[in-house]
């Protein structure tokens, strides 16, 4: 595709043109392809309903949102399809001015009506998107003029921009959505405005996309992207070694050693918002007593877990927010002090806790999850707690935890256990805190209900000043770290991404999505 240059506004393209002319070749540049192997197959490419990271990685290349984060640091929100925006004095009416002349890959203009169509669609009961509740603050969306969209919110909504920057808020071509009809078939034929044009997806084989020559921003640097699912950890490394793939996601720690001294591939490490933890059932003994919750946090040698089980590819948590999470505050790590743990348990149960602590874990969902859970079981036994251990398969685990059991302890199936291993990689501060701590939230599995935390969350949901709002989230982080924990944070994940030597310009976000916009591949 080297013969077709986009509107020349980029110095690199000028240089490329000059070089090409100097060399006397006008179209001899070979097509470049970047192949990505992921651990899990894509489930849907419809951004409105997608929730899995492997799907969102593909979606991010094809679509734009109204606004986006400035980069992996999540420092500020910058324009994407909206050039500028403003909010009314009472904080309930947002006005977005759209970028002019943008067209979807199918030629449909990306105007205010298209934005309204998308925001109405993701909020509709008819679509039933699992992401629908994130948009609950929006009351109505209006296309005031072809390039102006106004969004009315029920109350002042400080989190609106952050929601619109998420992948679920990506703007699809209304023509393509209508053509696909009702149901979920649009997820097989996505059409966006992004730097890559979706070409095809053969399930369990590959998804393919080519560079969008008419992209409104700087054009992508690689001509073609191919995504393939390769579930086996070792097989993904082999794909890199043999040159079949250029990028491999989630490399297992025990395979990371193979990258040392390799002349074919390199390992890129990036911080991840993903933290793995045990949630504690705070509605029944022994963890209804905060002293025992603090005790178990001191009973665990996290440094040993990170060094020996994760082989150093992880971090000891210093907050419930890992690096790369919005509004992060850090504290002193929990110290490993089994004697103090025993003393605290004795203070709560003078003759020792006679019951059995039921401990659940999935197997193979998070990095070394089962091994880490078994180590934790060992540490709990060492401070005198009797345990009962159950290993679950992921699908039935989720069902068992989230099953509604009204009126029973946590109100969920989680009430059958005392502690269960989970992880979260949500980089958005508000969503991350609210899901796990707000009283009665559908994702609050621990039965946590605390007036202080609920009060701070309520205050944050009305605080329109960004810095002040982040300070409130920081206060909540401190409170659950020092005063009233409902988890045993175990480790912060580190993203391990394998690359063929010479692959460059890959942007790795802390929510574990990747941006290939500036990625380049060396010649094969």
């Amino acid at each position: 595709m080297g013969h077709r240059f986009p509107s020349v506004n980029c110095p690199l393209a000028v240089a490329g043109l000059a070089l090409a002319l100097a060399g006397g070749a006008t179209h001899a540049i070979a097509e470049t392809t970047l192949t990505v192997v992921q651990g899990t197959e894509i489930d849907t490419l419809d951004p409105a309903v997608s929730r899995s990271i492997p799907s969102q990685i593909v979606i991010a290349q094809v679509f734009n949102r109204l606004v986006k984060w400035d980069g992996p640091g999540l420092h500020k929100i910058v324009p994407d399809l909206a050039e500028s925006w403003s909010v009314s004095a009472d904080g309930t009416v947002w006005t977005f001015n759209l970028r002019k002349g943008v067209k979807f890959h199918d030629g449909t203009p990306c105007d205010a009506a298209a934005v309204k169509f998308n925001l109405d669609r993701v909020r509709s009961a008819e679509l039933g998107s699992p992401n629908r509740s994130f948009f609950a603050a929006i009351e109505k969306v209006e296309a005031t003029s072809p390039t102006v969209v106004t969004i009315g919110t029920k109350k002042p909504s400080p989190t609106l921009l952050e929601i619109l920057a998420e992948q679920w808020a990506a703007i699809s071509s209304p023509t393509a959505v209508d053509k696909a009809g009702l149901g979920r078939s649009y997820g097989r034929n996505p059409v966006g405005t992004g730097p890559y044009v979706f070409k095809n997806w053969i399930p369990n084989e590959h998804a393919e996309m080519v560079r969008n020559p008419d992209y409104f921003g700087a054009p992508a640097k690689t001509d073609r992207l191919v995504f393939r699912p390769v579930p086996e950890f070792a097989a993904r490394v082999i794909e890199l070694q043999t040159g079949n793939a250029d990028v491999a996601t989630s490399i297992a720690p025990e395979l990371a050693g193979q990258f040392k001294g390799s002349d074919k591939m390199t390992l890129q490490q990036a911080p991840s918002a993903f933290q793995v933890f045990f949630e504690l059932n705070v509605t029944k003994p022994p963890f209804d007593d905060v002293r025992v919750r603090k005790a178990v946090n001191m009973a665990i040698d996290r440094k040993a877990i990170v060094d020996k089980i994760l082989l150093g590819y992880g971090r000891v948590p210093v907050s419930s927010f890992p690096e790369g999470t919005q509004g992060r505050k850090t504290f002193a790590p929990y110290k490993y002090d089994p004697d103090e743990a025993r003393r605290l348990i004795k203070a709560a149960f003078p003759s020792g806790y006679s019951g059995v602590v039921t401990l659940w874990t999935p197997n193979g969902r998070y990095t070394k999850d089962r091994a880490v859970a078994e180590a934790v079981q060992g540490y709990l036994t060492a401070v005198g707690l009797k345990t009962d251990f159950k290993v679950w398969e992921w699908a039935s685990y989720q069902k068992a935890l989230y099953r509604a059991m009204p009126g029973r302890g946590t109100g969920k199936g989680s009430n059958e256990a005392n502690m269960w291993l989970l992880g979260t990689g949500i980089a958005n501060a508000d969503i991350r805190l609210r899901r796990k701590l707000a009283t009665g939230d559908p994702s609050n599995l621990t039965g946590y209900s605390n007036a202080t935390v609920d009060g701070l969350l309520a205050k944050a949901s009305e605080e329109m000043n960004y810095d002040k709002r982040m300070a409130l989230y920081g206060e909540i982080q401190r409170y659950v770290w020092d005063a009233e924990p409902n988890t045993i944070p175990l480790f912060d994940q580190v993203q391990l991404i394998g690359k063929r030597k010479g692959v460059d310009g890959l942007d790795v976000y802390s929510d574990e999505t990747l941006d290939f916009h500036n990625a380049t591949v060396p010649a094969r």
């Binding site: 089980i309 078994e374 180590a375 079981q377 060992g378 540490y379 060492a382 290993v391």
Partner: protein
């Protein structure tokens, strides 16, 4: 039982093992130079002894207590097989694992056989609509793969050593019913059974005193091969995470948990893997030899 009748039994049913001590089998193995089977027998004896004395060599705390400071150590003096990913002594875990494995295997075969042979004998001895229905039910159960039946049972009753044993027993029981109904049916028509009946012996006495002893050798042979199968199903379920919960050492689970280290620390996987391989192979080889010993026809065809 009259002497004459006993004589009839021995001539009608050729079963050289009837009443012969285990020494006969050993003598048979050496006489026929079946060294491989003899070696297998030794392996089984060695592992059984290891399993029996494990608690005196390694206490429970040693094989279950996590010590990350010494994770994945290679084999060396004192830690003869090294340590696993959580720093536990592998030799201790393999020996304790043998206890669990053999307990589950013998337990499930004993359970399955007791029920299976009894039902098989009844179904073979009586022919009526009830036993017919029972046999069809057994056919129905056999139609499902054994591992699948075992998975269903574990899913219903939860995972523990006992439930694993019961699951394997239930999944293998129908085979015994089918397997024993046929010889019982043919025995039922034999002259010595008719003779017993003629002199007034009741059904129960005939079953217990004449029929069951005559399928005894079949039971022993079938039990030996069933043990190998029970171990395979048990460790398979455990590999899938349906076995006894951690920290109980079980070979299948140990293999599953050490797969990730195959490239870097193969000893963690090889220890339980080799133990499992040796035990299953040995049971099969001993079972083969036992069948040849018990059944003179197949012995002749071989030698």
């Amino acid at each position: 039982m009259p002497k004459a009748l006993a004589l009839v039994i021995d001539t009608v049913i050729p079963s050289p093992s009837a009443g012969r001590p285990a020494r006969g089998f050993l003598r048979y193995l050496t006489a026929h130079r079946r060294w491989v089977a003899l070696a297998s027998l030794l392996v089984l004896a060695f592992i059984t002894v290891g399993a029996l004395v494990a608690p005196w060599l390694y206490d429970w705390t040693t094989v279950t207590q996590v010590d990350l400071g010494r994770a994945l150590l290679p084999p060396h003096a004192g830690l003869w097989l090294g340590t696993d990913e959580l720093g536990r002594d592998l030799l201790g875990r393999v020996l304790w694992g043998a206890r669990i494995t053999l307990l589950v295997a013998f337990g499930s075969v004993a359970m399955g056989m007791t029920v299976g042979v009894s039902l098989g004998a009844i179904c073979g001895f009586y022919s009526n609509s009830a036993t017919g229905a029972l046999m069809r039910l057994m056919d129905f159960m056999i139609a499902f793969p054994r591992t699948l039946v075992a998975i269903i049972v574990v899913a219903v009753v939860g995972n523990s050593v006992l439930s694993l044993t019961v699951a394997i027993a239930i999944s293998t029981m129908p085979i015994y019913v089918r397997f024993f109904a046929a010889p019982v049916r043919s025995l039922r028509e034999r002259e010595f059974v008719l003779a017993s009946r003629a002199i007034g012996v009741g059904d129960a006495a005939i079953l217990v005193r004449h029929i069951i002893p005559n399928v005894g050798s079949l039971i022993i042979v079938q039990a030996t091969t069933s043990l190998a199968e029970a171990i395979l199903i048990g460790s398979g379920l455990s590999f899938l995470g349906l076995g006894p919960p951690p920290p109980i050492p079980e070979w299948g689970a140990m293999i599953a948990n050490s797969r990730a280290h195959l490239g870097t620390n193969p000893h963690v996987l090889l220890a339980p893997g080799c133990a499992l391989f040796l035990v299953i192979l040995s049971f099969n080889l001993v079972g083969d030899a036992l069948r040849d010993y018990v059944d003179p026809r197949s012995r002749r065809s071989r030698h």
